[in-house]
């Protein structure tokens, strides 16, 4: 199955929209998991899109664009990985490692280029101020959106139009001659979220909230085992016993979030009661978070 022209068109348009959303609106439409959902819908395989988008979302969990730092472009990576995974029947986990991550890090260069291009418009605005050309100021400001969106739309369009053959032959090799590498990339896809979690921990005041890290991990680890064992048990029983009714779901993550939310609320209330102390806690938090923060891809 090849990618049709209207799929390329829609994916290219979305690639342009998502950077604009990321800069201003923050509707979450600029997140990898949303990119996966929309690319999955366009390509006609929602599940594959969600799996790829979800994994890349976790990989960049703690990576923000602080102070104008450029971050790995996981959205565009997701779009391409999903498109090729669905159209060529590539294993989603493999697509994450073999397409998603490399594309995401290559496109960092174009983000930097876009930010440079806008300096040109800033200088034009200086000139327009001298001339009291109000329309000119506004026009030159809004023109900045062109470098931003083109830096995402052009690579997506080119890769989807011309990259299919290349990716197809790579997939062929991964599943035959280089089986070990194909399997390895699959495992790597499963490990990558660890990076996102570790970055996030670097950014958060871990030392201060260490008990809650242990709580979150232990509660969830135990419940995951319980839930998945019950699921397995249910499936096996259903095979043996006729008319066995009963469905078992996986551990609902929302429930875990609610436990966390309750703990956070208790802590917030305690902070409110002890007036005078919050002042000190800010100092601590700020200190620790800046201390733990890592330099974020400032290339």
């Amino acid at each position: 199955m090849t990618i049709t022209w209207w799929q390329i068109l829609l994916l290219t348009l979305y690639a342009g929209y998502q950077i604009w959303d990321e800069l201003h609106i923050y509707s979450s439409a600029s997140s990898p998991v949303f990119a996966g959902m929309i690319s999955g819908l366009i390509m006609g395989d929602l599940t594959t899109g969600l799996v790829i988008g979800g994994s890349l979302q976790l990989t960049i969990l703690g990576v923000g664009t602080f102070g104008g730092a450029t971050r790995i472009d996981a959205n565009t990576g997701t779009i391409m990985a999903t498109a090729f995974s669905v159209s060529l029947g590539m294993n989603p986990q493999q697509a994450i490692s073999a397409i998603g991550v490399p594309v995401a890090s290559l496109l960092v260069q174009l983000d930097i280029l876009a930010r440079f291009a806008n300096t040109f418009f800033a200088h034009r605005i200086d000139k327009k101020i001298e001339e009291f050309d109000y329309k000119g100021i506004e026009r030159n400001f809004l023109l900045g959106i062109a470098p931003w969106t083109l830096s995402r739309m052009v690579p997506v369009f080119l890769a989807l139009t011309f990259g299919g053959g290349l990716v197809q032959s790579v997939v062929g090799v991964l599943n035959n001659e280089l089986q070990w590498l194909g399997d390895g990339l699959e495992v790597a896809g499963a490990v990558l979220p660890a990076v996102g979690f570790a970055i996030l921990l670097r950014y958060l005041p871990v030392k201060k909230h260490l008990p809650y890290l242990i709580l979150g991990f232990t509660i969830t680890a135990l419940l995951t085992v319980v839930f998945s064992d019950i699921q397995l048990l249910g499936e096996n029983v259903a095979e043996v016993v006729e008319n066995f009714e009963g469905t078992f779901n996986a551990l609902p993550m929302l429930a875990i979030t609610l436990i966390g939310l309750a703990l956070a609320t208790i802590s917030y209330k305690n902070g409110q009661n002890g007036k005078g102390t919050p002042q000190q806690t800010t100092a601590n938090t700020q200190e620790e978070s800046t201390e733990g923060e890592i330099e974020d891809d400032e290339l």
Partner: protein, 269 residues
């Protein structure tokens, strides 16, 4: 000295908010970052306060294109306080406005980045990603709802900041401290939960001791389930503390090491 006596109206606030939510960073560049965006947001209002083609307007337009960078979740709070001052004092407020902008942008950037650019995406992104990898799009929709609430918050703050002026900053400090603390607590808790669910790797190696195959994974599970994921995250955390380590480098190191360990048959999924 200008005494235009122009008072901002609801329409002015709506215009600034619209420009902030849709275009504030369109002109972002390495030299002045959000500088031109700051001017663009309030240009129509500056023209009303100072009058078209006056030297005062030119002066203030130049002031407002200077380097500026803050969290775009809080930028209109600074705009609101700034406009309250300029409305009162006109060009005489130039020094005050400059001081306010430079003084506030850093602290607002820090709070905004940690709550809105890191924590909320981390918590809701994790939730959405978790449900997505199980094939459900519901988590994505929950995140969108949360972001709509954030947008409403961003829309409201300008008018409040303008009404309260400079006194707002001291009022907010106490509350924000407790809130940030609670939010980071939730963040840490959720990372713990994610480590336990989202990294699905096991020990594949099964050495046999004296002819008896040893199920290493099962032995580990008896000590504590999900120890391997915890160890991997701990390892990456340590790696990130190294000098010259960036998140992109870390991603590639993890990629290569995982492929190697898998090829050697030590880990699998």
């Amino acid at each position: 000295m200008t005494n235009s006596n122009y008072k901002l109206t609801k329409k002015d606030f709506n215009q600034i908010n619209r420009r902030s939510l849709l275009t504030f960073q369109a002109g972002w560049n390495y030299e002045r970052m959000q500088g031109t965006g700051y001017l663009y947001l309030i240009l129509p209002q500056l023209r009303k306060i100072y009058g078209d083609d006056t030297p005062e307007l030119k002066e203030m337009m130049k002031v407002h294109t200077q380097f500026f960078n803050t969290s775009n979740f809080f930028n209109t709070i600074i705009t609101g306080i700034d406009l309250a001052v300029e409305e009162e004092q006109g060009i005489d407020g130039k020094e005050t406005v400059n001081g306010l902008k430079v003084g506030l942008m850093g602290s607002f950037a820090a709070i905004g980045d940690s709550i809105f650019a890191a924590l909320i995406p981390a918590i809701f992104g994790a939730l959405a990603a978790n449900m997505a990898t199980n094939g459900s799009a519901v988590g994505v929709l929950i995140w969108i709802v949360a972001q709509v609430l954030v947008m409403i918050f961003r829309w409201k703050q300008l008018e409040i900041a303008h009404r309260q002026g400079v006194s707002l900053i001291t009022d907010m400090q106490d509350q924000l401290a407790a809130l940030t603390d609670a939010a980071t607590l939730l963040g840490v808790f959720m990372v713990g939960a994610l480590v336990a669910t989202m990294i699905n790797v096991n020990i594949a190696a099964a050495p046999s001791i004296g002819g008896v195959p040893l199920d290493l994974q099962n032995s580990l599970d008896m000590i504590m389930p999900k120890l391997i994921p915890a160890a991997i995250v701990g390892g990456v955390y340590w790696l990130l503390g190294k000098k010259n380590m960036t998140s992109t480098k870390a991603i590639f190191i993890v990629l290569i090491v995982s492929v190697a360990l898998s090829a050697l048959g030590i880990i699998g999924n």
